[in-house]
């Protein structure tokens, strides 16, 4: 079942990104180009470099985790075992550490803007709307960041809990399923997040 769901989800995900890239690429580029430039000294600060290094490491580990996690399941049609699992676990734990660091570094940057809730502002009849903000897909970018953090917790804990002698087979299976579906969702969201982030980075 999971094999079918994940295959379909990845296909839809990649197809969606491809379509988005085809039809909205130029518009998005133009919108992000207007964004306020960060001061050059901040770009070159050690903290920025560290953040960037962690981000690259996280992306590499994420790629390794996704390949080792999904390849045996989707292509070989067998549960993850052997060297696949060893690489998967090693990459996954590094990815988790990087994620925690990136969450700490970026949480403030990814705070939601009140402009994302025009309906609330209209309801309360407060302030003017900055429509451009809404159009820049920032909401999706920020929402995906928080979703990644949110999904990472059950993703990690489902595996950690299964390593303790607390739960029997039924819960173990539930934990394994939780891990799989969280991993699938997190992977898709992270791919979308990275895709959107690429526009921001290019324009920086």
């Amino acid at each position: 079942m999971f094999r079918i769901v994940s295959t379909v989800a990845f296909l839809i995900g990649f197809a969606g990104i491809a379509l988005h890239w085809l039809f909205f690429r130029s518009k998005l580029k133009a919108l992000y180009a207007k964004r306020r430039q960060q001061p050059p000294q901040q770009k070159l600060s050690p903290l920025y470099r560290l953040r960037k290094a962690i981000y690259i490491l996280a992306l590499l580990c994420f790629a390794a985790s996704v390949v080792t996690g999904f390849f045996p399941l989707l292509i070989l049609a067998e549960s993850i075992f052997g060297y696949w699992s060893m690489v998967h676990i090693t990459a996954a734990i590094v990815f988790a550490c990087c994620l925690a660091a990136l969450a700490a570094f970026n949480a403030e940057l990814y705070r939601f803007d009140k402009n994302y809730c025009p309906w609330l502002k209209k309801l309360l009849k407060r302030g003017d709307l900055d429509e451009e903000v809404g159009e820049r897909s920032e909401f999706v970018l920020k929402a995906s960041f928080w979703l990644i953090i949110l999904l990472a917790v059950p993703l990690i804990m489902s595996m950690v809990l299964s390593m303790f002698a607390f739960f029997g087979t039924v819960i173990q299976e539930f934990l394994a399923e939780t891990h799989r579906y969280c991993a699938l969702l997190l992977s898709l969201i992270l791919i979308i997040h990275s895709y959107l982030l690429s526009f921001v980075k290019k324009n920086e």
Partner: protein, 647 residues
């Protein structure tokens, strides 16, 4: 003329129809059709001999009773009339039937001949790795002579030999019929050791009688001449000859010359144990008083609570996927999994049957159930640094009289070997097929074949033992180990000598197989040694004794198996061989598991870091959780401010 034809036709018709009519009149109600009562039927019955004649208290000479005649007087079946004919197709008797699916690989009979350094797994079943007895030159008659001691009769014992001498001996000894009493007689006087003795004396016709509680059989059919007729009065010119004679206890017959049998449907465990006992040679546990029984038996179950059968005696063996090889409707439903694992898909649950504790497997990642059989953790001896040797009833004639009790006695069975399970010989729509292995690792017993063979057209077949014996006797000295029953000390020089002598007596290239290696003379007449497929060990799965959950592998944590020197993967499997120069070698357990040894090592190493991994993962989760909580609270604060009109 026409009338004469009519009369002839009527006469012929009458001759044909009347006996059939008489037969149908005489036809009895099928008594093997159960009425559902669980009460035991009292078997107060007459003892019938081979000709169907009653034995009486005063009958002289007393005749051995025939199981077929005595039991078939009542046990009739509507399909094939005699239940006996249906029963003979049951698992315990049908090995010789070529169309019976062999199912999962099982314990072979092991032919041992210490003086020729021979140890060969034999079976009539089509299990890969065993030799058919006829491939070794054993006729069904000889096979029964060797192994009939622990066979319940029937099967090869009821097949007529093609050899004239054996046919003649068959007239003297009679047939070794299926002995229902071997299993179903609950009387403590039923002696299977006596049965084995009668078989050894070739008193096949008398074996069931001699083994039961109310008769004694003296004499040896084996010594009688080919023309001996047991029904004729004794006229013996040789005082040393002792014809088989039956002595019934007079008190057993009632006024109607009936005898009371303590026959039970639910076979007592001790009856099974005569052929299915195991001894683990761990020193301490080699004594039955210090070794534990199977947990199921200790809990009060009987062997037949799980190994069940109907009248057809097609008993369940109890392994997973058995339903592919057996027509027993309970096949596959009486496995470990069926009773101990809850299956949510079943509307009528089978887990917990007979009070079976439903397994929780706390903390056990589910991948273990894909890679391991239940027995891997729960059955057989606990794995140690090196394998141990074991004995089984059928291999070592346990329970018979004057058995060699030495620890070194052949055959050498090595256990526990954690190896990948092999394929299952199944059946589909009447055709035999091989069901591929499920790849699960299970504990096995192992025997290294050792034999003198011939290599012809890339195939190695054993040389008839009768050809090897006189040659080996000249060269190999087995005197030293005669008492222990161990291997003779075979040197490479002796192998060379035997091979060169055998080359003059057999077709093809003579070879010797032992300890996983093939020995043969090369073109220059020197001995060459190489590993060979034909020398691979024969493994069969261990099912019992089952240990309780608290004594299963993994109870001490993952390190029970996942440690860098853990016996499960890196235990040393003894390579048993009579060749002195090859002794003391071992193979690693992982070599039998179709798993990469480096991977297993690395994986085991990863368990050293497992606690760190858990700690890091928990800390990361906590950081992420705290950040989420912090910003969720901040968002909530902002929303409440907006709602309060302060923003």
């Amino acid at each position: 003329m026409r009338n004469a034809l009519h009369i002839t036709f009527v006469l012929i018709l009458t001759a044909v129809v009347l006996p059939a009519k008489a037969d149908s009149v005489d036809n009895k109600t099928p008594s093997d059709e159960s009425d559902g009562s669980r009460a035991n039927f009292v078997h107060l019955i007459p003892l019938l001999d081979e000709d169907g004649k009653k034995n009486t208290a005063d009958g002289e000479p007393a005749m051995p009773f025939s199981i077929r005649q005595t039991c078939s007087d009542c046990h009739i079946n509507d399909e094939v009339y005699h239940s006996y004919d249906k029963i003979r197709r049951g698992w315990h008797f049908n090995a010789v039937e070529p169309n019976v699916p062999p199912g999962r690989i099982g314990q072979p009979w092991i032919f041992v001949d210490a003086p020729t350094a021979t140890q060969l797994p034999l079976s009539y079943r089509q299990w890969p790795g065993v030799f058919r007895p006829d491939e070794v030159g054993l006729t069904t008659w000889q096979f029964v002579q060797l192994f009939g001691r622990q066979m319940p009769g029937g099967g090869p014992a009821e097949i007529d030999s093609d050899d004239f001498e054996e046919v003649m001996r068959g007239f003297v000894s009679g047939k070794l019929e299926i002995n229902c009493l071997s299993c179903h007689n609950a009387d403590p006087g039923q002696s299977q050791a006596e049965y084995a003795l009668q078989v050894a004396r070739q008193n096949y016709r008398w074996a069931a009688t001699g083994a039961c509680e109310f008769a004694m059989v003296t004499g040896l059919a084996a010594k009688m001449s080919d023309t001996y007729d047991y029904k004729m009065p004794e006229v013996l010119d040789n005082p040393e000859l002792r014809p088989p004679t039956v002595h019934y206890r007079k008190s057993i017959f009632d006024s109607k010359n009936q005898v009371l049998f303590d026959i039970v449907r639910k076979v007592p465990n001790e009856r099974c144990y005569f052929c299915h006992s195991n001894v683990d040679m761990t020193g301490r546990e080699a004594h039955k008083w210090s070794a534990d029984e199977d947990v199921h038996l200790a809990a009060g179950l009987n062997c037949v609570d799980c190994h069940r059968n109907g009248v057809d005696h097609n008993i369940t063996r109890g392994y997973e996927r058995e339903d592919c090889a057996s027509t027993n409707p309970l096949a596959g439903k009486l496995s470990c999994k069926a009773c101990h694992i809850r299956d949510e898909s079943l509307s009528v649950p089978t887990a917990g049957r007979l009070g079976a504790p439903v397994a929780k497997h706390k903390g056990m990642p589910t991948v273990h159930f894909d890679k391991l059989s239940c027995t891997a953790c729960h059955s057989g001896p606990w794995p140690a640094e090196t394998t141990i040797r074991g004995k089984t009833s059928r291999a070592h004639a346990l329970g018979t009289l004057n058995v060699n009790k030495s620890d070194e006695v052949l055959p050498h069975i090595i256990e526990p070997v954690f190896a990948e399970q092999q394929s299952i010989g199944a059946a589909y729509k009447g055709k035999l097929l091989v069901l591929s292995s499920d790849g699960k690792i299970a504990p096995h017993k192992l025997a290294w074949p050792a034999f003198w063979g011939r290599l012809k057209e890339q195939k190695i077949t054993p040389i008839d033992i009768e050809i090897v014996r006189p040659i080996a006797a000249k060269i190999i000295s087995s005197e030293k180990n005669r008492r222990t029953g161990d291997w003779p000390d075979l040197t490479e020089q002796q192998i060379e000598q035997v091979l060169s002598l055998l080359s003059t007596q057999t077709e093809g290239q003579p070879v010797y197989i032992a300890g996983g290696k093939l020995f043969q003379l090369n073109s220059s007449g020197k001995l060459s040694v190489e590993e060979h497929n034909a020398a691979k060990p024969y493994l069969w799965p261990i099912a019992h004794n089952v240990r309780p959950a608290a004594q299963s592998l993994g109870i001490n944590g993952c390190q029970d198996c996942h440690s860098i020197d853990g016996a499960f993967s890196f235990g040393m499997v003894e390579v048993d061989t009579p060749v002195v120069s090859e002794r003391g070698s071992y193979k690693k357990m992982v070599e039998f598991q179709d798993v990469n040894a480096t991977y297993m090592k690395l994986f085991a190493v990863s368990f050293i870091f497992r606690p760190w991994l858990k700690t890091v993962a928990i800390v990361v989760s906590m950081i992420l959780g705290v950040i989420l909580l912090l910003y969720a609270l901040k968002a909530l604060a902002r929303i409440t401010k907006i709602l309060a009109g302060e923003d």
